[in-house]
Amino acid sequence: MKTRLIVIVCLLSVGFIAVICKLSYIMLINHQWYAEKARMQQVKTENMPTKRGLILDRKGRELAINLDMGSIICNPAEIPESEAQKVAAMLSSITGKDTRTILTKLNSDSRFCWIDRKVSPQVAERIKNSKIKGIALTSEVKRVYPKRSLASNIIGFVDIDNKGIEGLEKMYDKELTAPTEKIIAYKDAKGNLLSKGEMREIKGNNILLTIDEGLQYILEKNLDEAVKHWKASYATAIMMDPFTGEIMAMANSPSFDLNNPGMIKDKKIIKNRGITDCYEPGSTFKIIVGAAALEEGLVKPNARYDCSAGYIEVGGRRIKDAHRQGVLTFQEVIQKSSNVGTIKIGLSLGKERLYEYAKRFGFGEKTGIDIAGEVSGLVRPPEKWSGISIGSFSIGQEISATPLQILRAYAVIANGGLLVKPYLLSEIQSPDGATIYKTIPVARRVLSEKTAKNFNMILTTVTEVGGTAKEASIEGNQVAGKTGTAQKYDPLTKRYSKSNYVSSFVGFVPADKPRLALIVVVHDPRGHIYGGIVAAPVFRKIVGDALSYLDVPPDDLKNKNILVTSR
C-alpha cells in the first residue's frame, strides 16, 4: 500500500509544481502585459466636467444657459439575457422609448451604452427608484434656452454632445466650449472614482451679443403678427445701430423653439434668412441711384423729371410706374418711388457709375457679419448687362441682395456716409466676467457727409404726406425710409410672378439723429402687395415700441421746450 501512497503524493506534488509554473508564467513572464491591462481598467482618465459658456444679450441677460440633467446609462454585461426582456419593457414604460430599440442595446456586447439622454427630472426619479441592476443614472449638462424661440436664428443650437451646430453656437463654438482637462484617478468596476476631491468644473467663455433681448422680442412679436395678418409665407426683420453696425435684433417669422430643434419639420426655418436669402430689392434700391446722382453732382434736389408718360422704354422693355405721375422733382421721384424718374436718373449716371456705386454700397459682397451662412448676393458687372439692364438695375431688379445688405446701405445715409460692418458678438468674457475680447466697429466712407445729409432729408419725405409710406410715420419722431415692392422671380415660368411679391420697408429713426435702422421684409403677403401698406405699418409698430424701450425722446421736445419746465 506504500506504493499507492507514494503515487498519490507524486500526483499531488505534480499539481503543486504545475500551479507554481502557471503562477510564474502569469505573474513573472506576463507581468507587464497584465499590469497594463490592470491599468486600463482600473485607472480612469476622465475629462473634468465642463460647462459651455453662456450666451448673453448686450445687457448681460441670459439667452443660453446650462442645466444638469439625468441620463440613463446601462451596463449590458450586468443584465442576464433572461431578464433583458423584462428590463426593456420596464425602461420602455418609464422613458417612452421603443422596447425593441432598448432590447438591442441591452443585448449588445459592450459594457456601456446610453438608454436615454437628458431625461426629465420625473423620469430620472423613477429610474432611480426602480433600482434595476445594470441601469444607472449619470449627470449630463444640457444646453437650455430659457427664452425658447427668442433669437432662435441667431443663437442656433447644439447637438446632444453640446457641440454647436447652428448659428452663433456653431460660430463661436471654440470660445464657448470649455477646454478639456483630464483627471487621472483609480476607479472601481462600477466606474466610481476613488478620489473625487480633485474634480472641478471647467467653464467655457461667455459671449456677449449686440442683441438686445427686449428689442428682439418687440421685433419678433410684430413680425409674427404681420405674417399672420398678411398670411405671408415668411418675414424677416433686422434692427441695427446705423453708426456702429451692431445688430440689435434680427428675426424671422416663423421661428422655432431652440429647446426642441429636433421637432422642426421644415429645415428652412432654421436658416437666418436676413443673411442667407437674397431677393430683388426693388424700390428700396433706388436710393443707390439717387445717392449716386447727388454725390456725382448730376442733380440738385429740385431738379425736375417728366414722368407724365407713366412709362419709359429701355432696351425695348416698357417699364411703368405704379401710379401715373406728373412732372416730379428729384426729391419727389424718391418720395413717390417713381420708376420712370429713377430710370431717367440712372440713364444719366450710366452703367459704369451705377455698378460702381452698387459695389461701393456693399452689394455683391458679404457684409462680413460674424455668423455662418451669409451669402454675397449678385450684382452683375456692366459687361454682362443687356439693353434693358440699366433700367431694371435702377429700380432694383436684376440684382439680388440680402436684407442686411439693404439695411447697411440705408445705414450709410443714416450715419453720414459710412459703410459699417455689421456684427453680433460684442464681447467675449472669461467665466469670471473679465473681458477677453471686444469687437471694435469698422466702417469705411462711401458717401460724402453732405450727400448723406441731403438724401436723409429726402427720405424723411417718404413717410410724410405725399410719400409712399405714410403708414411708417410715428408720432414724435421723424422717420426716414423707403418702401419696396418687388415681384418675385418665378423659376418655373422664368418670369416675374404675378401673385408673389416681396414687400419691404427700410428706414431709420429718428431721422436727424438716428438711433436705429430697421428693415422689414414680408414675403408673399396676401391681400395687399405694396411695401407702404404691408411692411410700413410693421415698421411703425416696431419702431414705436423700440423707441419707447430705448427711451428716445420725441424730436419736437426741444422745440416745444417742455422738457425742462414741466419736470
Binding site: 500500500m1 506504500k2 499507492r4 501512497l5 498519490i8 503524493v9 499531488l12 499539481g15 503543486f16 504545475a18 500551479v19 507554481i20 502557471k22 503562477l23 510564474s24 502569469i26 505573474m27 513573472l28 506576463n30 507581468h31 502585459w33 497584465y34 499590469a35 491591462k37 490592470a38 481598467q41 482600473q42 454585461a77 456586447d109 459594457r111 483609480y186 476607479k187 472601481d188 468596476a189 462600477k190 466610481n192 476613488l194
Partner: protein, 418 residues
C-alpha cells in the same frame, strides 16, 4: 496518551489562518456601494472579518476537542456522523436553505449560515476510515468496494441538485483516493472512474452552455465579458502583482472587478498584493502541511488512524490544489474555497476540525508507540533500533545524559528491546 501534538502542523495552520484573515480584511474592508447596499448601509469595514473571527474561535475549540477525543469514540461515531451529514445536507432543500446566485448550498441556523457540503467531506473521511479499517473489509471484493461508491453517489446526486460542482469534484477525488489507499483493486476504481467520466461528459454535452462554461478556462478571452470574465480578472490581479506585489491592502482588483474575491478567488488577491513571493509562501505552506501530514500518516500502524490522517491531509490538499488551479486557469471555474484562507465559516470550521483529527492521530501514534512496540516490531525496525541504541550508548560515553526526554525514552526502549 500524553504524546506531543505536532507543533509544525499547528504552526503552518496558524500561518495560513493569519494570512487568510489579512486577505479577508483587505478584500472586504473597502466599502463598495454595492456591498453597502447589501448590508443595508451598515458599516461593513469589519463585518466579514468579525464573522471570520467567530468561525475561527469556534474552529479552534473544535480543533482542541477533536485532537483529544479517543479514536475508539471516533470509530463509533463514524457511521452516525455520515447519516447526520446526509440529513443536514438534505436540509438545504427545506425552508432552512439559502439560495445565492441560483445555488442552494447553505442552511440558515439563525446565528450563522452553514455549508453542509463541507461537513460531508469530513464525514466521508471518518466513514471510509472506519469502513476500511474493519476486519471484515475485503479489499478484493467488489461488493465492499461498491458500497462506499454508492454512498458517494447519493451525495453526488444531492450536490448536483444544489448545484455544487466544487464539492462534487473534491468529494469524488477524495473518495477515490482513499479507496485507492485502502487497497481496493485498481480495475474496480478504473471501471467506476471510466463510467463516471462518460456520465460526466454526457452531462456536459447535453447542455452546451455548461460545456462552454467548463471550457471557458482554456481560452477566457473568447468571451471576456461573460464566461471568461472572472478568470481574466483573476489573471489581471495575479499578473499585476508581479514579483513583489502592489502592496498589502493596495489591491485594485478587489474593487468589484474580481467577483468572489474574498472567497474562492482570495488567492488572486494575495498574488496581487504580495506578489509572486507572497503567493509562493501560501503554496509552500500547503506543501509543507501536505508532506508533514503524509509523514504522520506513513508512520501510522493502526489502519483507522492511517486512513484518518491520509483523508484529512488529502482533503485539505486536494481542495487547495483545485482552488489554485481554478484561480490560475488550470482547471474550470467552480466554487471551492481555499482552506483556512478564504472567507467562509463552514470551510474554516471543517478544515480546523480536520487538523484536529490529524493532530489527534499524530498523538495517538506517538503515545502508543511503546505499548505497541512488542506487537508489531518487524525485523527492519528492530535492527534500526539496536543500531540507534548503540549510537546512544556511544554517545553517552562521550557527552553524558544532557540531551532530552526522547533519549531517555529511547533508553527504556533499548532496555526493553534487548
Amino acid at each position: 496518551m500524553n504524546g506531543q501534538c505536532d507543533r509544525q502542523i499547528l504552526f503552518i495552520v496558524f500561518a495560513l489562518v493569519i494570512i487568510g484573515l489579512l486577505a479577508v480584511y483587505s478584500s472586504t474592508s473597502v466599502i463598495t456601494p454595492e456591498l453597502a447596499e447589501k448590508q443595508n448601509g451598515k458599516a461593513v469595514q469589519f463585518f466579514f472579518l468579525k464573522k471570520q473571527l467567530y468561525a475561527l474561535f469556534l474552529g479552534v475549540l473544535l480543533l482542541l476537542l477533536l485532537s483529544r477525543v479517543n479514536l475508539r469514540i471516533l470509530k463509533i461515531c463514524a457511521l452516525p456522523v455520515l447519516v447526520i451529514s446526509l440529513i443536514v445536507l438534505l436540509l438545504v432543500f427545506t425552508s432552512l436553505g439559502i439560495s445565492v446566485k441560483g445555488a442552494t448550498r447553505w442552511i440558515n441556523l439563525t446565528l450563522f449560515s452553514f455549508q453542509p457540503s463541507e461537513l460531508v467531506k469530513l464525514a466521508m473521511i471518518l466513514f471510509l476510515a472506519w469502513y476500511m479499517s474493519r476486519e471484515a473489509f475485503k479489499k478484493d471484493n467488489f461488493i465492499y468496494f461498491i458500497i462506499p461508491i454508492g454512498i458517494m453517489g447519493i451525495f453526488q446526486v444531492i450536490f448536483l441538485m444544489q448545484p455544487d460542482f466544487g464539492a462534487s469534484i473534491s468529494l469524488a477525488i477524495l473518495t477515490i483516493s482513499m479507496l485507492l489507499l485502502g487497497g481496493v483493486r485498481l480495475r474496480f476504481i478504473g471501471g467506476v472512474s471510466f463510467i463516471a467520466l462518460i456520465a460526466f461528459t454526457a452531462l456536459l454535452i447535453s447542455e452546451p452552455y455548461r460545456l462552454r462554461r467548463v471550457t471557458a478556462f482554456i481560452d477566457p478571452w473568447e468571451d471576456p465579458l461573460r464566461s471568461g470574465f472572472q478568470l481574466i480578472q483573476s489573471y489581471i490581479a495575479l499578473g499585476s502583482g508581479g514579483l513583489t506585489g502592489v502592496g498589502i491592502g493596495e489591491s485594485k482588483q478587489k474593487l468589484a472587478f474580481l467577483p468572489e474575491v474574498h472567497t474562492d478567488f482570495i488567492f488572486s488577491l494575495i498574488g496581487e498584493e504580495a506578489g509572486f513571493f507572497g503567493a509562493s509562501i501560501v503554496i509552500i505552506l500547503f506543501c509543507l502541511l501536505f508532506y508533514r501530514g503524509i509523514l504522520i500518516a506513513s508512520k501510522m500502524k493502526d489502519p483507522f488512524a492511517y486512513y484518518i490522517a491520509c483523508g484529512t491531509v488529502l482533503m485539505i490538499t486536494i481542495q487547495a490544489i483545485i482552488n489554485f488551479s481554478v484561480v490560475t486557469g488550470l482547471a474550470p471555474t467552480k466554487g471551492l474555497p481555499l482552506p483556512f484562507v478564504s472567507y467562509g465559516g463552514s470551510s474554516l470550521l471543517i478544515s480546523m476540525m480536520a487538523i484536529g483529527l490529524l493532530i489527534n492521530v499524530s498523538r495517538y501514534q506517538e503515545s502508543n508507540a511503546l505499548s505497541q512496540a512488542e506487537k508489531i516490531i518487524d525485523d527492519k525496525t528492530l535492527v534500526n533500533r539496536v543500531n540507534h541504541a548503540k549510537n546512544i550508548r556511544n554517545w553517552q560515553r562521550g557527552l553524558g545524559y544532557t540531551r532530552c526526554k526522547a533519549i531517555l525514552c529511547d533508553q527504556e526502549l533499548f532496555k526493553k528491546t534487548l
